[in-house]
């Protein structure tokens, strides 16, 4: 059973399984061409002729809310603050409502989290950056301007290495990572074949800049009968600290776009700088989609979009870019990229290529809708922010004498490094490593657990570190996380606000400690308990919430494997010589194929008699010995 944790890393999509393409018929009076988009490569193909026509090119901008308890420029509470009230317009400070007579005061923790994020994304850090005002009018923009960093951002020229996104596979019965069935040794080694394919699927995307800026309030449109719409504004989040991450247009397909966003989301959650909850608006994505002809002869010669700041990254003949704003899930990102690629292609084919547009995505219809033509022609009248000094990354803001010193203390081992370490030092599978590293505290939990388990197994030369690691990883990823998830969903029913900075499925909420888990696995590996018994033990430890040792619980409940040969032999004798089984014994004595058949029968009965506590292997041996005793000379 895969935990839901796994799903949250890989995908939010449920439907598309076998098909990675989607088709759109370009219906016109002249030609009716059916176009197909490949979500992995970004290539648009004519379905009938199979000719490759165009390819999409995509630039991504992400706005991530920093996980800090106060706003960027005031002490007003954000949703990460314990006192935060979810009801609309109950948690906004007078500064963030732009009441006259207040001045901004920069939040140091916001700068620190922005810096950690930028460093983890391999950016060049600007020790001097500046804030500016970006002016426009909108109901949810209290100041009439947004304070941002346009000309002098905090960081430039970064890089993200992404794991290639693949939609989730439909579940089959053989997908379990761990063997069941009462076997004493747990297998489940990493499949080297699988690793090879996975590891080659990394790709890099350049980051142009990372800047700090304020969030606006939230606007909700409500239709109030007829064609009238009412706009409701909630200012609770106005003034929250955001980082805007602008990627270079170096990706080509819908799935690549999803990879970038998914990787970034995991990374920021891991760093603790953003909680990554797209559905709550903590992470918002804008796409810039354009297409270019695959065959150079299709290039018309007119340069579209000459003012594009990323001109040098665009292939020849690339069309005008269309901006799709405010996408809230991986599914929406994939659908809108695909829809735009097909729409722009069919329009070019019909002789009316798209211009610069700003659009939004409608999840119900799966289409993008225009909100503004000539998307880029707004003059924002940027002006340096006169009420704030330049941002200097010095002791005052960082608490350390240099950026490097600060990062040495605050930048943790990055997820890919951790995954590498878990796989190569501990020998666990990539799948397990992904699950563990997606919850940062789980890494040290795992390491501590392995250490304790090894300590308890000292002296048993047959059990190596890799076996210990793999077993612990399996129990952590499958069984313990399942218990945490179950208990978390029960809690959520009681509490209305999650509010935790960490992922709700985290070992931080586990009632079972690393030591307890390590101890339990040691019992499994030295065959004191069976897998089945261990599951029961884990359940008890979790619900009891005491710090009991698994061995104690096993003894209290008589959940230990019977390994004593004398005990086992006497158990066998009791069953074989029982009146109920006399017929089967006679049958056994006849020999031939009855031997195997009846051995099986007796095995089952003895197991049942022992309430599953008999050590399967040893019991088998004992049975053989006892049968020879009772019925000597019987041959197969």
């Amino acid at each position: 059973m895969r935990t839901l944790l796994c799903k949250s890393i890989l995908a939010n999509i449920s439907n598309n399984s076998a098909f990675s393409c989607r088709s759109l018929s370009a219906a016109t009076s002249s030609t009716s061409r059916k176009l197909v988009y490949n979500r992995d490569t970004g290539i648009i193909t004519d379905d009938t002729s199979s000719q490759q026509l165009y390819r999409s090119i995509i630039g991504i901008e992400i706005h991530a809310q920093l996980a800090v308890p106060t706003k960027l420029f005031s002490s007003g509470p954000t949703k990460h603050h314990p006192d935060h009230n979810l009801d609309a317009n109950t948690s906004s400070s007078i500064h963030d409502l732009a009441y006259p007579g207040t001045l901004p005061l920069l939040s140091k923790s916001s700068v620190q989290k922005a810096l950690i994020s930028a460093a983890a994304l391999n950016c060049r850090i600007q020790e001097l950056s500046r804030f500016e005002r970006k002016h426009y009018t909108y109901a949810d923009l209290p100041f009439g301007y947004q304070v941002t960093q346009q000309r002098w951002p905090l960081a430039t020229e970064g890089l993200i290495t992404c794991r290639r996104y693949s939609p989730p596979q439909p579940k089959t019965k053989g997908n379990n990572a761990r063997n069941r069935g009462g076997q004493s040794k747990v297998s489940g080694n990493s499949s080297s074949q699988e690793d090879l394919v996975e590891l080659s699927k990394f790709f890099d995307v350049g980051i142009d800049r990372i800047q700090m800026e304020q969030d606006t309030g939230k606007t909700t449109a409500v239709s109030i009968g007829g064609s009238k719409t009412q706009y409701l504004i909630d200012f609770n989040r106005a003034g929250s600290a955001l980082i805007e991450i602008v990627f270079k247009p170096q990706i080509h397909s819908a799935h690549e776009a999803a990879s970038v966003v998914s990787t970034l989301q995991s990374l920021l959650k891991y760093l603790g700088t953003c909680d990554g909850k797209m559905e709550e608006g903590s992470l918002r994505c804008d796409l810039n989609v354009s297409i270019y002809p695959i065959s150079p002869s299709d290039f018309s010669g007119d340069e579209a979009d000459p003012n594009n700041p990323f001109k040098k990254y665009l292939p020849k003949g690339a069309g005008n870019r269309v901006e799709v704003k405010n996408l809230n899930s991986l599914r929406q990102i994939i659908q809108s990229a695909e829809y735009e690629a097909l729409r722009q292609t069919s329009q070019i084919i019909n002789g009316s290529p798209t211009g610069r547009e700003t659009r939004t995505f409608d999840p119900k219809s799966g289409k993008t809708i225009m909100i503004r033509e000539k998307g880029g022609d707004v003059d924002y009248r940027f002006m340096p922010e006169p009420d704030l000094p330049p941002v200097r990354l010095n002791r005052n803001i960082l608490g350390k004498n240099s950026v490097q010193e600060f990062l040495d203390d605050n930048l943790p081992e990055l997820p890919e490094e951790a995954i590498h370490r878990l796989m190569h030092v501990y020998g666990i599978s990539e799948a397990s490593a992904l699950i563990i590293t997606s919850d940062r505290p789980a890494i040290s939990f795992f390491v501590d657990s392995v250490a304790l388990c090894e300590q308890e197994l000292k002296g048993d030369n047959q059990i190596d570190t890799v076996t210990v690691s793999i077993t612990i990883a399996n129990w952590l990823c499958n069984d313990l996380f399942a218990l945490i998830k179950e208990s978390a969903s029960k809690k959520e029913e009681k509490e209305s606000l999650e509010g935790a900075l960490n992922h709700p499925i985290s070992v931080e909420y586990s009632n079972v400690s690393a030591e307890q888990l390590g101890s339990l696995v040691a019992l499994i590996l030295n065959e004191t308990v069976s897998t089945t018994q261990a599951k029961k033990l884990l359940g008890v430890m979790y619900t009891e919430e005491l710090n009991s040792l698994p061995l104690d619980i096993a003894e209290q409940n008589n959940w230990k494997l019977i390994s004593n040969m004398d005990q086992l032999k006497s158990l066998c004798r009791d069953v074989i010589q029982h009146g109920k089984n006399a017929k089967q014994l006679e049958q056994y004595k006849l020999g031939g194929k009855n031997v195997r058949k009846m051995t099986k029968f007796f095995t089952g009965k003895i197991m049942a008699e022992s309430r599953g506590n008999a050590h399967p292997e040893l019991m088998g041996k004992a049975l053989q010995l006892v049968l020879k005793e009772i019925a000597p000379g019987v041959e197969e």
Partner: protein, 264 residues
């Protein structure tokens, strides 16, 4: 008495920037200026001229347009928050604007409220500031104004003394500067409190450069008895004299102002 008061301004150097000694300065004001210089010397200060090579007249003159560019820009920005959505009286003038097809309902509403509730001078400054911040003018106007501001700040700071504690040498530089606050009569009620344009210019040039540089300043009234000389327009017996210094020099400024106040 005199022994004690001599100590107040001991070791204080007062500079008179030549750039502010303009020809239009009326004799009465010149007279008051001299009176104050004498008084400060009596209290122990030494007075010297700051040459035009240190604080230049051309830069001083440029601060006026620079100031209006910068202050109108800031005004247009700081007043942007008054959109009528969170606060402000509602307005019921549906025809106050010609029907502009490009504006949506919210934009029309905001325009109505701002047109009604901002006075004419405010609207003038907002429009000027908005124009100057537009992307095709920003570089020419705003950035040039910011450069002028940086320049005048530098010129003042270069003329001020840097104490030995902060790594300067004590030989050059002044601790305070002294110039008149205004060069013309105060506007009369019949002028509606607004001076004519030339007068406004002359007066602004005495205060704006100091304001742009962010320096602390005080204006002390000085009684000038010499009204009869020269047939000038200056009709008042009180002249405002301005004492200013580098940042955080308020204490020294207060001492000098005290000395001036005791002029009889």
């Amino acid at each position: 008495d005199e022994e004690e008061s001599k100590k107040i301004l001991d070791n204080i150097r007062v500079g008179i920037p030549a750039a502010f000694s303009i020809e239009e300065c009326p004799a009465e004001i010149q007279h008051a200026w001299n009176l104050v210089i004498n008084q400060l010397e009596k209290f122990g200060a030494t007075v010297k001229i700051i040459p035009e090579t240190t604080i230049s007249p051309s830069c001083v003159k440029m601060t006026l347009p620079a100031y209006y560019v910068l202050s109108c820009s800031e005004a247009s920005s700081n007043l942007a928050r008054y959109d009528g959505i969170r606060f402000g009286s509602s307005v019921d003038h549906p025809n106050i604007l010609p029907d502009d097809g490009n504006l949506n309902y919210r934009e029309k509403n905001t325009a109505r409220i701002r047109s009604k509730n901002f006075g004419s001078e405010v609207q003038r400054r907002i429009l000027a500031g908005t124009a100057v911040l537009s992307s095709d003018r920003f570089h020419t106007y705003y950035e040039s104004a910011a450069a002028v501001r940086a320049q005048i700040t530098k010129e003042f700071n270069d003329a001020f003394r840097i104490s030995k504690e902060r790594g300067g040498d004590d030989d050059e530089g002044v601790d305070l500067m002294l110039i008149p606050t205004a060069l013309t009569n105060p506007p009369t009620l019949s002028q509606n409190g607004s001076p004519g344009n030339t007068e406004a210019f002359l007066n602004d040039v005495m205060t704006i450069p100091i304001s742009l540089s962010g320096l602390p300043s005080i204006s002390v009234p000085v009684r000038s008895n010499n009204l009869s000389s020269g047939g000038t327009d200056y009709k008042h017996s009180v002249v405002g004299m301005q004492i200013f210094g580098p940042r955080l020099s308020e204490e020294t400024i207060m001492r000098a102002a005290h000395a001036v106040e005791s002029l009889k």
